[in-house]
Every structure is written in C-alpha cells, then in structure tokens.
Amino acid sequence: MMKVQYVSPFAEAAVSVFEMLVGLTPERGQLAARPQLFTTQQVNIVCGITGPVEGLVIYGTSMNSALKIASKMIGMPVTQFDQLVASAIGELGNMITGNSASLLAAQGFGCDITPPTIIRGTNVKITTVDIPALVIPLNLKELGTFEVNVSLQERKKIAA
C-alpha cells in the first residue's frame, strides 16, 4: 500500500500554488485509492520523481478548466490550447511538484523532479511497476476541478 505521507505534500503544495498563482483557495475533496495510475481527464500533466521516493504524479483537469486556469496565469483570456497555454499548464505542474519535493525533503526524502510532460486525451492508462495511486480531487470553484494522482514508492534497497 502506498503511504499517505507521500501524498499530503502534493495536496498541500497544490493548494498553496493555486492560492499564489490564481488567487483562490481550492477545497480538498475525499482521498481515493486506485490500483493503478490512470486518468480520465482531458488535460494531464505528468511529472516524474526520482530519489529515495520515486514514481509519477499526474495532474488532470478538463480542457475548459485548463483554459480558465491558463487565462488567470497569463493574465488575459485564452480560448485555444496553444503552445503558450501548454507551457503555462506544464509550469503549473512543475511548480506543484517542485513545492511538493521541498515538503518531501523536509520529511527526509530529498527527491529530484523531471520537466513536465502534457498528455491530452481521455482514458490514459499509464503502466508502471504496479504502484497503486492515491487521488486527491481539488475543487477550484469557478475554475472547475483539478485532480492530483500520486503514485510513489520508496526505492527498493539493492542488497549488498
């Protein structure tokens, strides 16, 4: 079972990044477990974590919400998922993951993160080494919902 202690930093970081970036405090929904990492969202940001705790985090939201969030970040309304919007949404994932990594480091798990990858399209199933996923939905009020899917495990120690 994946430890909840790895997930709370992501929820905490996501809330503070949204507060700073778009000026609203998301409400945390009910934590749910999934046997595997998958997403049914239209816009997904995938970030890798390496170090003593390793795995993947996927942030998922609807196209409509992604455009609303990007509009706030860019400071003007956007209606097309173009290169600048993709970059803003990717950077949102990078900021949440980076801030989460700082919180994980404070718990003694100093990790590095990879640059974000954006996957568009629903029903994306990502196969990793059977790490179950924990999902936290965030209610962004007028901006919609934003899901944080965390699939991390402690790195297996190699026997000497």
Binding site: S87, N94, G98, S102, A105, A106, D112
Partner: protein
C-alpha cells in the same frame, strides 16, 4: 543605460512572464535560453548584467549551467528562479555562487527586488 538580462527557463510561459515583468520595469531582456546549454552559450555571446536561471530543465540543468558560467566569469550575477525550493538545492546554488534564490510561484516584486539589488 538599461541593465541587460538573460532569461533561462525551459517553459515558454515563464520566459514570457519574466520578460514582461522586466521590460515593464525598465530592464532590457537581451536573450532567452530554454536550457542550460543555451544559457552558457548566450552568456558568452551577450555578457548580460544578470542571468535568471531555472533548475529543472532538459539538456543541462540550471545548477550545472550556474557552475559553468561562474567558472568562465567569476563575477557573473545569477539569480536562481525555480520551483525546487528545498534546502539542499538552495545551499548548493548559493555555494556555487548564485546571488539569490527565488522559489516559484513568485510575485513580480520578488523578482524586481532581486534584480535591482544586483543591477544597481
């Protein structure tokens, strides 16, 4: 004369945001690099007054680029600007000669404060 800044970030959105903040406040953005390799190359060509440097980037990360630029020019003024705010990252960057460390997301004033101290 306006102080000359080189922006380094793999995200187009961040480069646009930083460029807007800086140009609206009287700085000249002389170059934009999307990774560490480009940043080192542009530093040689442009000799900017200040460099902003992301850390998590493809090709060459910002800590490596910081070290390469500082070894070419020990007086280079480099401000880290990254989502990775953990203590060991800050320490490594400062020990390698970074002048300031800004954690994303930031307020525009935080960037201007850092740059104005260096470009005075």
């Amino acid at each position: 004369m306006a102080k000359r800044i080189l922006i380094t970030d793999d995200a187009l959105f961040m480069r646009v945001t930083l460029k807007n903040i800086l140009t609206q406040n009287g700085y000249e953005v002389v170059g934009e690099a999307a990774n560490g390799v480009e940043s080192v190359e542009l530093y040689k060509q442009l000799k900017p007054d200040v460099v902003t440097m992301d850390i998590t980037m493809p090709e060459m990360d910002g800590l490596q680029a910081l070290k390469e630029i500082r070894s070419m020019d020990p007086n280079a003024s480099i401000v880290m600007c990254t989502a990775m705010g953990q203590k060991n990252m800050v320490l490594e960057a400062i020990q390698a000669g970074a002048k300031d460390f800004i954690v994303k997301p930031f307020q525009p004033d935080r960037v201007l404060e850092a740059i104005s101290k260096l470009a005075a």
